[in-house]
Amino acid sequence: MSHLESGFCVTDVEALAQIVKENCPTLELVKQSTYRTWATDHGTLAGDYPLPAIYQLKMLGWMVTQNYKVFDLAQEAGVLLPKELRKLETEPWTLEMQHKLLKVPEFRQAYQHICSKVIGNDAEFVIKPKADQPEVGYAYQIGVVPHPWRAGEYQLMCDFYAQGKGLLLAKGVGQHKAVGETNSWGGELKQAYAVRAAERAIVTQMRAGNPEYGGYKKTTLPDGRIKLEVFPR
């Protein structure tokens, strides 16, 4: 072994559309900017979880545009923000830190702005129940939200309260699971997407004549993980 990287993001929307069509018979992926969450119905979030990292960044970005001194205000609240705010992407603030920040009026205002104006309104594509499905009127939706500064990269966002009000129970998506402080949802959809996106990227490299990409073998491991081995020419 020489090098190993791990993570998840969406860069191949076509692969995502294929998987939704093939694996999720009650859902569809459409081009749409709004996606439904708790905030859509209540104007804010319940505040029982820290904001997802992407929204922490958007919140601070908005504060900077309002000329708020985010570092000083955070310090006032007893929270030390990283010098490079982008680091919040991999090390987001915790719920305890968020509670402290929201005691400061400027942070509270910014949080309210993000919850009421940004979350649920910043997607480029949305995965939602088809119009003929009974849960169409109340289920939450999955937003395919562009990364704030990396063009072509998206994050999947979904309010997992009550299994996304039924959305995460749909075939091919995958339910919300809480393990310690980690929350995961949509495992089936994300795994199928990642495998499809990987296969498409491998085939693209094979066709382009990349010597590292001569062929590949796909295996499902006993624990459910899927392994793709790529062999050189």
Binding site: E5, Q191, A197
Partner: protein, 66 residues
């Protein structure tokens, strides 16, 4: 040296691991770039360089400087 290959593993939560096996020096980064860019994006949750990464074209330069 083991046979060169790239291994992509996708777990049940969708977390992707991209691993270069048998590459020496920085060639592994170039070999896996199309997959890491597509699957992991610009902010990997973890990135580890194995001992082989520091072999090949990098090790001689370290020796020369000693």
């Amino acid at each position: 040296m083991s046979q060169k290959k790239i291994v992509v593993t996708v777990d049940l939560s969708g977390e992707v691991q991209v691993e270069a096996i048998g590459h020496r020096g920085g060639t592994c980064v170039k070999a896996t770039a199309p997959l890491t860019k597509t699957l992991v994006g610009g902010t990997p949750t973890s990135s580890v360089k194995k001992p082989e990464f520091f072999q090949g074209d990098i090790a001689p330069r370290i020796q020369q400087s000693e």
